[in-house]
């Protein structure tokens, strides 16, 4: 069974030869695999794709997460982005000062509007480079996350009480952006989409706010995009209080982070949706020993492997500072303890 067959057998509800291993390796970690800094790959999109492909080949996991350039995704709506050294890219200027600015957003009308300026080049490059037996996941922000990006996270979070209608209107305005980017990624040939909705986490907003402001937009975009490609819904940090809601979005896979008890998640929604997770990216992969990584993988397998419907992953993006040996240990332990 190759990686692609393994991945799709899990999505089809079948038991593969072993649990697929698809850690969240993205532009924050991968550049160092080819000896580059993140800011170099920020400026050079193909550098980022090369780094992701090199990391996939080096560590031997089952799928790669393809993104537009590090700065391109926020820039879809016109937000300028900067990155220093190996830091994460930061939006340096937000676009929404108030309701009157919503109409000024440069919402892409369709997928063709996303492809301008070479934004999709790293995704195309990656789809061609990794070959037919591998899985390529295209990553896109949710409407809620786009809304937070264009408003600025601090102001966005205060809007929940100051002006909740602004939150609602902004999220609604950003729905076409997620749809356009998602469709553009699918048109490049990715196998599935990861819709990132990190700010909808119960570590950020209450479950009630999630249900009122983030969930309806998730349902809408997953409803449209899910018919074109399977959707992985990523909500990092604590998503346990909203796991039932996430399972009702129509997503094929829920990507959950380390604060969620994997056994409890499996018991709650594991019969209805595939779970992907949830080794602690910062504490275990980033700072733990090789033994810590192996122990975490063994626990994850004991919690979620039985009956299928499980993909081993880090709970969130692997940090730039993570030892490369820890990623090797994750993949090896995943292959060893993930056999059916």
């Amino acid at each position: 069974m190759n990686s692609r067959e393994r991945f799709f057998s899990v999505l089809a509800g079948e038991i593969p030869d072993r649990v697929p291993v698809i850690p969240v390796v993205d532009g924050y970690f991968a550049p160092k695999i080819i000896g580059r800094d993140n800011d170099e790959c920020f400026l050079d999109r193909i550098c980022q794709a090369e780094a992701l492909a090199a990391s996939l080949a080096r560590f031997g996991y089952d799928g790669v997460i393809a993104e537009m350039g590090l700065g391109d995704e926020p820039n879809v709506l016109g937000c300028p982005v900067e990155v220093e050294g190996n830091d994460v890219p930061l939006v340096v200027e937000t676009l929404i000062g108030g309701r009157e600015d919503i109409g000024k957003l440069k919402i892409p009308a369709d997928s063709s509007a996303v492809a301008t300026g070479g934004k999709l080049e790293p995704v195309r490059w990656l789809v061609e480079a990794v070959g037919a037996g591998q899985v390529v996941l295209g990553s896109v922000r949710s409407p809620f996350e786009y809304a937070a990006t264009v408003r600025g996270l601090y102001d966005f979070m205060t809007d929940f009480y100051r002006d909740p209608e602004l939150v609602r209107d902004l999220v609604t305005a950003c729905i076409p952006a997620t749809l356009a980017v998602g469709k553009a990624l699918i048109e490049t040939g990715v196998d599935a989409l990861v819709i990132k909705d990190s700010f909808a986490s119960s570590s950020m907003i209450s479950p009630d706010h999630y249900r009122e402001f983030a969930w309806p937009a998730e349902v809408q975009v997953i409803g449209e995009l899910g018919g074109l490609a399977p959707v992985v819904l990523h909500i990092c940090r604590n998503s346990m209080p909203i796991l039932e809601d996430m399972a009702k979005t129509g997503a094929a896979v829920l990507e959950i982070d380390s604060p969620v008890d994997l056994a409890a998640a499996k018991a709650a929604v594991g019969s209805r949706v595939v779970l992907k997770g949830n080794i602690d990216a910062a504490a275990v992969i980033g700072k733990g020993s090789l033994d810590d990584v192996e122990a975490a993988v063994r626990y994850a397998m004991s919690a979620a492997k039985a009956g299928g419907g499980f993909i081993l992953s880090s709970g969130d993006s692997i940090p730039n500072t993570a030892p490369e040996n820890n990623l090797t240990a994750l993949v090896e332990a995943g292959k060893k303890y993930g056999k059916y």
Binding site: Y154, M157, Y161, M204, S206
Partner: protein
Amino acid sequence: MKDILENFELAIIAGNADTSADLADAIVRQGQATADEIFDHLAAAMKEVGARYETGEYFIPEMLRSAEAVEKAMTVLEPYLFERRHEQAGIIVMGTVKGDIHNIGKNIIVSALRASGYEVHDLGVNVSTEKFINKVKETSADLLLLSAFTTSTKPALLDIIAALESRGMRGDVKVISGGASHSEDFAREIGVDGFATDVKSTLAVCRSLTGD
């Protein structure tokens, strides 16, 4: 006065900015509360808001709502507290370090420091190392206060200390880190000159390091 201060504390916890400002006005009009009493109630409110976040009762919007209640109240209280200040003791650059958007604790501390006579340059939240360094250089600050809500911000704190050292600025400015989770061991690991966990300890360590 005790009732007013307790209600003031409750208004902040509830995130009711209008009420907290009204009660701050009542505190000023009565003119009996000492700065320490006011700061004690601010610190207690902040601690309760933090506890509610930890237990999953509050989330980021609720914390920021309480932060706004503090900000609005401090606008009313600052002149009152300033009249009761210590002598001007120094220039401070302060901000919440990169990767952290927590505002409530920092804003209370900024107001308390200003009210106590310090010239405070507040850089906001999620502040990069470069911004801290540039502002320290620009203002010839005596103190650099780094707000960090959790110990997960350690790399950001270490980066700032390393940047100060590599540019030969470490001897020119005293560095204080602060946050609810800070401890003496944590401060030693980072290599700061002092640490604080609330308003009162921040004022105390600032006075100690500036010789006030």
